[in-house]
Amino acid sequence: MSKFIKEFTKGLWKDLPPFRLVLGLCPTLAVTKTADNGLGMGLAVIFVLTLSNFMVSLVRTSIPAKVRIACFIVIAASLVVAVELLMQAYAYPLYTQLGIFVPLIVVNCIILGRAEAFASKNPIHLAVADGLGMGIGFTLSLTFLGALRELLGSGTLFGAQITAEWFKPFGFMVEAPGAFVGLGLVLGGMNYFTNWQRRKQGKAAIDGPTHDCKTCGMCQGLGGK
C-alpha cells in the first residue's frame, strides 16, 4: 500500500511531468490560454494515461519485446480516439477549443514514456497509481499555468471577470510567446523553492542542470544510470 501511495504522489511534485520531467511541453504551451482549456486537456490526459498504463501493464508479459512500442502506440491511439469521440459527444465546445491537440495526445511523450519506463515493468495496481498521479500532476500544472496566463492575459479566471477595472490585461500572455514566459517563470519559481527548501534542511543548493536518467527510462536498457 505504501508503495502505491509513493507511486501516486511522485507525479504530483517530485516527478511533476511538465515542470519537473519537462515532458509533454507541446500541449502545455499550446492549450494553456485559459484555465478551462488546461483543465480539459489535463482530464483527457488522465483518462488516456491511466487506462494506457493499466492496459500496458496487463499485457506486459505477453508482448514480444520487439513489437512492444508498436503495441503501446496502438493502445494509446485507440484510447485517444475514444476520448476524441466522447469529447465530441459530451463536450463539443471544449473539443473545438482543443482542436488538434486532442489527437496529438497519442504522440505525447508522457504516455509512451510512462508505458515504456514504468507500466511495462510493474504490476497493474502500481501502473495505475503511476498513471493517475502523473495525470493529475499534469492536469494541475496545465490548470495552474492556464490560470496564470488567463489572469494576466485577459484578467479572468475560468471565464469569470475577477480583476479590478483599472487592470489592463497583458494581451501578450495569452499569445504564444506568453506561454514560454509563463512556463519559464513557473520553472524558475519551482527551482527557487526547491533550493530554498534544501538550504533550510542544510543541504547544498542545486546549481545548474541536473541530469537524472532514472525518470527517463529510455536509456536504462543501454546501461545508463
Binding site: C71, V74, S78, V81, Q88, Y92
Partner: protein, 194 residues
Amino acid sequence: MREILKMVCILSLICGLSGLTLSFLKEVTTERIEEQKLVFVQGPALAQVFDKADNDPVKDRKKFTLPSGEDVVVFPAMEQGKLTGVAIETFGRGYGGDLGIMVGLDLVNDKLAGIGTTTLKETPGIGSKVAKHGFTAQFKGHALDGLALTSTGGDIEAVSGASVSSGAAMEAIGKALTIYESLKDQFATTWPSS
C-alpha cells in the same frame, strides 16, 4: 520463425481488439455527435443568417429527398409562425478541404438572406477571411441571379489572395441554389403557416 509468428499474431490481436472497441464506440456516439454539431456548428451559422427568426431552425429542420436521390437537410426560419426563409448547408472544395457554407434564402423576396460558414479549414489570415463580414456581407439581400465573382462576370468581390477559398464559397452557394430551385414548391406545405 516462431518468434515472428508470435509477434504478428499478438500485434494483429491488439489492433483487432482496438478496432472493434472503437467501431462500437463510434456506433454509440454517432447520433449524439450529430446533435452536438447541429447545436454548436450549424446553430451559430443559422443565427448569423437569420437574425430575425423567432423559431429554432435546428429543431424544426426537415429532411428532403432531391430528384437525384440525395438527402438534404433544410432549416426553416419563421417569424410569428410564418415561414420566411430556409437555409441549406452545402460544401465547396476549398484550399484546406471542404468549405461548409450555410446558405440562407429569403422566401418572401426571393433573394439571398445571407451566408454563414460552418466548416472552415482554409489558411488562417488568408482564405479564412471568407468567414469575415467583408466577404459574407455581400450576400445579404443579394438577388438570386448574377451571383458570381467579379473575375467571371458577377458582382461578388473575391477575398484578395484567396481565389480558391472564394471559389469554394461560390461553388457551395451555387449548389444550394440548385437544391432550392428543385425543392421550392415543397416548403410551404412542409412548414404551413400557423
